[in-house]
């Protein structure tokens, strides 16, 4: 199953993002980022398995900085 990974810099952003997405009916998972160059070091990913565009719009509407996004094919 594929999923979209939003890279955010901190656990607080990841928690906030997950909360916002779930309030809007989009299930999200938090994992530790595996790509340290994207994060300039440590960070977290928010994984969503559906509603990619809406998820991104919702996250960006809060002013949260998304450092990168990538499609993952192995799912959450």
């Amino acid at each position: 199953m594929s999923s979209l990974c939003f890279y955010v810099s901190s656990i607080t952003n990841a928690m906030r993002g997950k909360s916002i997405l779930e309030q809007n009916g989009i299930r999200a998972f938090i994992i530790r980022s595996s790509d340290e160059t994207v994060q300039n070091g440590c960070g977290y990913c928010l994984l969503v398995t559906s509603e990619y565009e809406l998820a991104e719009r919702l996250l960006r509407s809060t002013g949260m900085r998304i450092r990168d996004k990538q499609i993952k094919n192995d799912g959450p």
Binding site: I30, E36, Q39, C42, T62
Partner: protein, 385 residues
């Protein structure tokens, strides 16, 4: 099951720290020590994420409690004093002045003094209890071309005098100034609304009116201005960059957080919400009214304010006995099992304003757990001295 700690004394020192703590707070601290034992915000395994979730839940609860939209703007600190230091030294790092009230605690005055070179960088406004226009006029007069902020407490930790923060906040913003509120005596007791009260930075302790443990406080930010940091270090984010992250809360949360303290604070906030801050305040002020009325009938007692009411005062009462130093009175009360604080309460400004700098005052402050029986006993003992 954890029970409330049994009362071993008649505790009237709640303006310093509320005690006993609600059983939900004790449980939350123990639960955190047991199941959230990993470092939050550093790893991706289950216990670390669970700890992060618990901390984020407290941010959400605090943001909602103070009517702030973004939980990321709730920064956990060691205490209220640390939060005040971050804001004061950050706002005035590159110059400018602050206006403060004449009732301030040393948590505000000492940081201001520390960054004053050659001469003070603060101007002191007089608070006239119960007279908002006169108080505002005094704040207005203190504003100079290089004033950057108004920094004031919400309620005096010595006399309970309540400042009209909504009107002071509006005044600050009309002049393009930042408005910083020291909510040490009011958070959890008096209503605080970050938006309606025009507050840019709110500094609060966790261990007083919010019923959390000692060792945790909050800096609640409602401003886009990026404050310089006091402390830098590991945040679990952007580790390849040598510069401290700009995003909140990481910018001000270097090092491992006090997870158990934060979980206890969250339980304390929920306790206040469940019981209603208004109801708690009403209970406390009724106890103070009772004590005030009884003490005002005692010739030997000196009182410094009008009878407590929630419009003008927080539930904190100072008094003295004629011919006695405040510490002497406190010692007598302690010998009868009554816990109070005497002396200057780290607020010499307030004592200068009230003419009590030489004697200090004895301070009584109740909590949700204080009973009328406690109040009756305190009055009886004071009357017998």
């Amino acid at each position: 099951m954890i029970q409330n700690t049994p009362k071993s004394c008649i505790y009237f020192d709640n303006a310093a720290t509320t005690w006993p703590k609600p059983s939900c707070v004790l449980r939350a601290v123990q639960q955190a020590m047991t199941i959230y034992g990993a470092n939050p915000g550093r790893s991706g395994y289950q216990m670390a994420l669970a700890a992060s979730r618990a901390i984020y839940s407290c941010r959400e609860a605090a943001a909602s409690f103070f009517n702030l939209e973004n939980p990321s703007n709730v920064i956990f600190t060691q205490n209220c004093t640390t939060a005040l230091n971050i804001v004061i030294k950050g706002l005035l790092k590159y110059g400018g002045r602050a206006v403060v009230s004449d009732l301030e605690h040393n948590a505000v005055m000492r940081p201001l003094n520390a960054i004053s070179v050659n001469k003070p960088i603060f101007d002191i406004a007089s608070v006239t209890p119960g007279d908002t226009p006169k108080t505002l006029e005094s704040f207005q007069r203190c504003i100079k071309p290089d004033t950057r902020a108004i920094i004031c407490l919400h309620a005096s930790n010595v006399f309970g005098i309540r400042l009209p923060i909504r009107e002071i906040g509006e005044l600050a913003h009309r002049h393009g100034l930042k408005f910083v509120v020291d909510g040490a005596q009011s958070a959890g007791v008096l209503p605080i609304d970050m938006n309606n009260d025009s507050i840019d930075y709110l500094c609060v302790p966790g261990h007083k009116g919010l019923y959390g443990p000692m060792g945790v406080g909050m800096l609640v930010c409602n401003s886009d201005f990026q404050l310089p940091t006091l402390i830098e270090g590991g945040t679990g984010s952007l580790s390849l960059e040598l510069n401290q992250p700009g995003e909140l809360p990481d910018r001000f949360e270097s090092g491992t957080l006090n997870t158990a303290g934060i979980c206890g604070l969250h339980a304390g906030i929920e306790f206040v919400k469940k019981n209603g801050a208004d109801s708690i305040a009403e209970h406390e002020i009724n106890i103070m009214k009772y004590i005030y009325r009884r003490l005002s009938e005692t010739k030997e007692v000196i009182l410094y304010t009008a009878c407590p009411d929630l419009i003008n005062l927080a539930p904190v009462l100072s008094f003295n006995l004629k011919g006695h130093q405040s510490e002497e009175t406190a010692q007598v009360l302690a010998s009868k099992g009554i816990a109070v604080r005497a002396g200057l309460h780290c607020a010499p400004c307030a004592h200068r304003s009230f003419g009590t700098i030489k004697t200090g005052t004895v301070r009584l402050a109740p909590s949700k757990f204080t009973t009328f029986r406690d109040a009756q006993y305190v009055c009886k003992v004071i009357e017998s001295i």
